[in-house]
């Protein structure tokens, strides 16, 4: 059996447009991509079967029946896509509520590396905890390997908003 050429072309177009939209930053566009892609897959499943009469025993002779299995699979796939579309819409709405748009931003790690590159900084060794945008608060100059700095602190201190100590400073625990 040869599949219908029009359907094959439609599947190709849906896959291509879906894939392009999926690469968008805005979640609502990516969602459209998911829907197009999903429909392309559904049509592809339909192509996997063969056409024919109603697949009910007693109405259509067995040889003339359409293949019912791909249709069952498509039905399942549609239900799943519908549910996930609703979820993605909710996610896009939540994103809009929180930050005013639904564009997916970069990973925090990537942003950190970009910031470092802009300042022409390399990441320091583990014990230089005082440099870089993520320098912690109030740990300047303390030898991190030293278990018992003077005086032995029990619970470390300092509000979280204090500015970082300059590198090489000798500030102990306050």
């Amino acid at each position: 059996m040869t599949p219908d050429v029009v359907l094959v072309v439609v599947v190709g177009v849906l896959f291509a447009t879906g894939a392009i939209l999926l690469m968008e930053r805005s979640l609502s566009r990516a969602l459209l991509g998911v829907i197009l892609f999903g429909n392309g897959v559904n049509l592809l499943l339909l192509l996997a079967g063969h056409p024919g009469g109603v697949p009910i025993v007693g109405i259509t002779p067995a040889e003339e029946m359409a293949d019912p299995l791909p249709e069952a699979m498509i039905l399942t796939a549609i239900v799943i896509t519908l549910g996930l579309t609703a979820f993605l819409l909710a996610l896009a709405y939540r994103s809009w509520q929180l930050i005013g748009h639904d564009e997916v931003r970069d990973d925090p790690e990537d942003r950190r590396i970009v910031r470092r590159a802009e300042r022409d900084q390399v990441s320091g060794p583990d014990d230089s905890t005082t440099e870089g945008p993520l320098a912690p608060d109030g740990f300047g100059g303390l030898d991190p390997e030293q278990v018992d700095p003077e005086p032995p602190p029990r619970r470390f201190d300092g509000p979280a908003t204090e500015p970082p100590q300059p590198p090489g400073g000798t500030a102990g625990p306050r």
Partner: protein, 501 residues
């Protein structure tokens, strides 16, 4: 004993329904979810016993004869994965119950957490037991849909961002998988895996390779194999600790399970072995180099998770009985250890208020027990003898040496290097977080930890140690499972009596 086979899917789903009805009764809700998972664990262990003693257990849903209806198959591999993952899931559930009791409504919104968690379990068990490709797809969708909800619990800004990437990537992999299912059906006219085994053999080689690559691409995204793994360290660390733990333990392993199943049962000719080995090599090295560069415990562990998927892939790519058996043992080890580490890091976060290595220190003095709970699994992950990580790596590396050749040799070298770098990454984390001067990111963090959370983590640590003690029997099951996988006949005969490949 075939009536047991559908229970690992049915029990958690039933539990999910009940807990959803009982949203206003938190105590009852917790009791039901623990009971449901406990019962599932008992069933899974029984299934493993029967599969080990008397071969694959098959149930035909609705009594439809095999290639027509849906089948659930519990062979040794599926039953072993089932038992381990349910045991780990139960521990994580107890941990989150402890967390929920300690500060109600703070970290885990009780109302939807329990039903979703149980649905996730049902999806995982369904994927393990599925006897046809489409049911495998449905299993994946169940667990993914539940994981979307769990990952975005609370809907904070960070989780919305991470959730978006995660959902889109997972959706794409599901669509590719569904495309693969459609193409396989178009080529063979069936989605029953036992029947596919013989029908795929009859296809032209290149067509079969194309089908294999489509499925491998889909499973590779789910299993976080290197070029397709970037989504994982980005999304996992933002979720609550128990959620990250269960994701790390199970979700990628379901992808690995699907790779093992399809590479052995459906496409045994090994034409992608070279590709898989290169992917395994890159997964190991790139993953662990990422871990070395991280300053955050959760991100560090996410990278080690990616890296160690490489070992599993290595075992699968070798395709020999020794390689597959090593991979099976390594899966069991890795599920347990990676989950334990994430739970321990959850406790660290609770105790100190952060998981950032620059902001915490001296935990070994502040919380010695927590130190042990991190240190032992960390060494275990790195593969220090006599822990199970060492045994698993040894098995895989020996299988690689036995195989001979350039690529396996390279992989043995890369595996050893990865093991060393894992040791470096974890001891570095240990030095920074547990050694040094005591220092808490949040000075007001409660000094005590809830007993149930500590207890659940301890049980997992002990389970990880138990893998060393029980290594003999588990390896035996692994070898038998691997032999069955290589032969294909036991699986096919169990599903379709009198119709070998």
């Amino acid at each position: 004993m075939t009536f047991l086979v559908p229970l690992p899917v049915a029990l958690p789903l039933l539990g999910a329904a009940l807990t959803l009805v009982l949203v206003r009764r938190p105590v009852l809700q917790r009791t039901i979810s623990v009971a449901a998972l406990g019962a599932t664990l008992v069933v899974a262990v029984l299934l493993l016993w029967y599969a080990y003693r008397s071969g694959p257990q098959v149930v035909r849903i609705g009594g439809w004869p095999s290639p027509v209806g849906i089948v659930l198959v519990a062979d040794q591999l599926a039953a072993l994965m089932l038992a381990v993952s349910v045991a780990v899931t139960l521990c994580v559930l107890l941990y989150s119950v402890g967390e929920g009791r300690a500060d109600p409504g703070q970290h885990s919104p009780v109302v939807i957490y329990h039903p979703t968690f149980l649905v996730l379990t049902a999806g995982v068990t369904n994927a393990f037991l599925a006897g046809d490709l489409f049911n495998l797809f449905v299993g994946f969708e169940i667990l993914l849909a539940a994981s979307y909800v769990l990952l975005t619990l609370g809907g904070t800004e960070a989780r919305t961002r991470a959730g978006t990437t995660y959902v889109l990537v997972s959706l794409l992999s599901s669509l590719i998988f569904l495309t693969g299912v459609g193409l396989v059906y178009a080529a063979t006219g069936t989605v029953n895996m036992a029947q596919l085994a013989s029908r795929l053999d009859a296809l032209p080689d290149d067509l079969r390779l194309a089908l294999q690559l489509v499925l491998l691409l889909a499973f590779g995204i789910k299993a976080a194999v290197f070029p397709l793994s970037a989504w994982l360290p980005d999304s996992y660390p933002t979720a609550p600790a128990p959620v990250t733990a269960v994701f790390a333990g199970l979700l990628t392993k379901v992808g690995v399970y699907a790779i093992i199943r399809s590479e052995t049962l459906l496409f045994p000719d090994g034409r992608t072995d070279g590709l898989l080995m290169v992917a395994a090599l890159l997964t190991m090295l790139v993953g662990i180099l990422g871990a070395v560069a991280q300053n955050d415990l959760k991100r560090l562990l996410s990278f080690t998770l990616v890296s160690h998927i490489g070992y599993l892939l290595f075992g699968v790519a070798l395709g020999s009985v020794a390689g597959l058996a090593g991979a099976v043992y390594y899966v069991v080890h890795h599920i347990t250890i990676q989950t334990t580490l994430f739970l321990a890091v959850g406790l660290v976060e609770r105790r100190t208020g952060s998981t950032h290595l620059d902001r915490i220190g001296g935990l070994a003095r502040l919380a010695p027990l927590l130190g042990i709970m991190f240190f032992v699994p960390a060494l275990n992950l790195a593969g220090v003898p006599p822990f199970s990580g060492f045994l698993g790596k040894l098995g895989l590396l020996r299988a690689g040496v036995d195989a001979g050749g350039l690529l396996p040799g390279l992989l043995v070298a890369a595996g050893s290097l990865t093991s060393l770098l894992t040791l470096y990454a974890t001891t570095r984390a240990w030095n920074l977080a547990f050694w040094r001067a005591p220092r808490l990111a949040d000075p007001d963090a409660a000094p005590g930890l809830p007993a149930l959370m500590v207890g659940a983590t301890t049980v997992l640590v002990l389970l990880g140690l138990g893998l060393t003690v029980g290594a003999g029997p588990i390896f035996d099951i692994g070898v038998e499972a691997a032999e069955d996988l290589r032969l294909r006949l036991p699986y096919v005969e169990a599903v379709l009596p009198g119709d070998g490949p």
